[in-house]
């Protein structure tokens, strides 16, 4: 990508090019129209400029990141057989089902 992360607080921050947004949308499996691309290129750069302040305030300081608000430890449970959804219920919302399974479009290029 052509943009670079900001290094200083007063850095105006990166600008996303149209190619950047096309690439990001592809990574996110998001088909966009040309009109959407035009709109998002500008809007996303404006938003990015406004959020890059975070790099400036933490700078190179040694601060422990907070990933959750409350200290958490991993939680385990007994590995017991418990009732779950029936196959019928699990498939009830599927866009397409066949032979008691989810039917999906081709994934390996065969037809």
């Amino acid at each position: 990508m052509s943009s670079v992360p900001p290094t200083e607080a007063d850095d105006p921050g990166p600008t996303l090019s149209r190619d950047d947004v096309v690439h990001l949308a592809h990574l996110a499996r998001l088909e966009l129209t040309d009109a959407e691309l035009d709109l998002y290129v500008d809007q996303l750069s404006v938003i990015l400029h406004s959020v890059t302040a975070v790099s400036g305030v933490v700078g190179g300081r040694d601060i422990e990141p907070t990933s959750h608000a409350v200290p958490l430890t991993n939680v385990f449970r007994e590995d017991l057989v418990r009732p779950g959804l029936s196959r019928e219920d699990a498939l009830a919302g599927a866009p397409s089902a066949q032979d008691g399974r989810f039917r999906v479009p081709q994934i390996l290029g065969e037809v």
Binding site: E31, Y40, V46, A53, A69, G93, P105, I107
Partner: protein, 520 residues
């Protein structure tokens, strides 16, 4: 529909109107036999029928299942069973991001249109077990992304105080349902303010519990480290009653806190009866001034005087890193939502577009997501994908997580000097529909006051502080407590509400304008 069960127009409201009562009074009426749960449910369904064309708070009204739940409560009472909870038989509006088995759930998105969840969220289960009657599912910004409910794929909800204005977001449907007397109770979810900001702009009450205080199992995820379910109502006591029904540890949510449910109902009663003498209340210096409407600040200053008169010691606290809260939030949230929304892949449930027999799974996925997601969702997915991509993670998501630490430290320091902190809950009163929808950054500023508490995971609520003199619209007072400090914020909110009612001869929600009731 009968005229007697809907709020009157020119003739005024009949005193027997069940929709004007609080949840606490409705539950008492059921227990004493003055009214049946079915009668109360029918009154609210009639009210919904009468005002929904104007308000559009609901995406789905569950008439049949609501009546069945109400009749079950009446049958239990007839058998002589003890009430299932202090809210047995009281109707509630459920935000359409919390699933209920057999009832459509959309999260305000086209990508889930027509999906019927096969299971109940833990919150839904607790409500039904408590005998609470679920009237239907309320409108929201798509996947809870927004501050106005305009990002709903099913059209905006209108603010009952002024139908040309927004009801806040993302939980605008739940807040509007309360303000329009369509339901006395509602469930919201709050990631950056989606319970508190709608409460503020509709003159209702809404609380975001400590992160992990209420189970997220069965709640469609936005940002997993921030999302929290919470209670909404027109009074602080009703909010507390609902809080105790939905809170508590859940083994199905690994981030759920293994702690007893806070005794918030007692806390409210203590605040109402004894006031708040001796409590130290901190006004956050950074959450006022620039960006805040003058009518909001005026109402806030008046609220500070009320709290001081109720016996609190008022101090000012300095939280210098709050300045960076909005920026950190708009990196953390898109990052987490871009990951969470990857599950909408057109394979197992929801929409599928372009599956023509020749397109690959990947192409179908892209087409479906392109067609099924709205503009704000797409913007945040792209932004999050960028912030999490190789080479940028440390500068963006990593830095934002460090800012979160600094904000937590600001709060911890402030709570050494104060028992609770206060600020306006929303920087502005309800704005006009259409005003900010094309300017994402202007929309993000609505969460200015609510985001710090979200990033720190602390409990916070909005209680109406009055009517802004410049716009004539309601203003919300935000009360924030330390981690697991729910009892403190409910005590302060309860004391404030009763002091306000004594001063003004009633509470804010009762001053909402009568809606012109449509006749069908």
């Amino acid at each position: 529909m009968t005229a007697g069960t809907t709020a009157g127009t020119a003739a005024g409201t009949p005193p027997t109107d069940l929709t004007r009562l609080t949840a606490a009074d409705l539950a008492a009426a059921i227990r004493s036999g003055q009214a049946s749960a079915e009668e109360i449910t029918r009154a609210h369904l009639d009210r919904i029928d009468a005002v929904e064309d104007a308000v559009h708070a609901f995406l789905h009204v569950s008439t049949q299942s609501a009546l069945e739940q109400a009749r079950a409560v009446d049958r239990a009472r007839a058998r002589g069973d003890r009430p299932a909870s202090p809210l047995a038989g009281v109707p509630l509006a459920l935000k359409d991001i919390v699933v209920q088995a057999g009832i459509p759930a959309t999260a305000g998105s086209k990508i889930l249109e027509g999906w019927i969840p096969p299971y109940d969220a833990t919150v839904t289960r607790k409500l039904l077990d408590a005998g609470v009657v679920i009237l239907g599912k309320t409108n929201l910004d798509e996947f809870a992304m927004g501050s106005s409910t305009e990002n709903s794929a099913y059209g905006p909800t209108r603010n009952p105080w002024d139908l040309s204005r927004i009801p806040g977001g993302s939980g605008g449907g739940s807040a509007a349902a309360l303000a329009a007397f369509e339901a006395p109770l509602a469930i919201g979810t709050d990631t950056g303010g989606s319970i508190r900001q709608p409460a503020a702009v509709t003159g209702t009450v809404g609380a975001k519990p400590t992160y992990g205080g209420v189970s997220r199992y069965g709640v469609i995820a936005l940002a997993s480290s921030l999302d929290q379910v919470g209670p909404c109502a027109r009074t602080v006591l009703d909010t507390a009653l609902l809080h105790e029904v939905i809170a508590g540890h859940d083994p199905l949510d690994s981030t759920s806190i293994p702690q007893p449910v806070p005794l918030v109902v007692d806390a409210v009663r203590r605040g109402q009866a004894d006031g708040i003498a001796g409590m130290r209340i901190g006004v956050v210096k950074q959450l006022r001034g620039k960006g805040y409407q003058s009518g909001v600040l005026e109402s806030f200053d008046a609220a500070v005087l009320v709290l001081a008169a109720a016996g609190a010691e008022i101090i000012e606290v300095d939280c210098p890193h709050f300045e960076y809260a909005l920026a950190a939030y708009y990196l953390i949230l898109p990052s987490e939502c871009s990951s969470n929304l990857a599950r909408f892949d057109a394979m197992r449930y929801g929409l599928r577009v372009g599956d023509d027999g020749t397109a690959s799974a990947e192409e179908v996925m892209s087409r479906t997501r392109g067609a099924g997601f709205g503009a704000e969702v797409k913007r945040r997915i792209i932004l999050g994908t960028y912030a999490l991509s190789a080479g940028y993670y440390d500068a963006y998501y990593g830095s934002a997580q460090k800012v979160r630490t600094l904000i937590k430290q600001d709060f911890e320091k402030a709570y050494q000097a104060a028992d609770v902190l206060i600020s306006p809950a929303s920087p502005v009163t309800a704005f006009a529909i259409g005003d900010k929808v094309d300017d994402p950054l202007a929309m993000y500023l609505n969460d200015l006051a609510t985001i710090p508490a979200s990033l720190a995971g602390i409990p916070a609520m909005s209680v109406p502080s009055g009517i802004a003199s410049d716009t004539g619209l309601p203003v919300g007072l935000q009360v924030m407590g330390p981690t697991l400090g729910e009892e403190r914020i409910y005590r302060v909110a309860g004391a404030f509400e009763s002091a306000y009612a004594r001063q003004h001869g009633g509470i804010v929600p009762d001053a909402a304008p009568e809606l012109e009731v449509g006749v069908r």
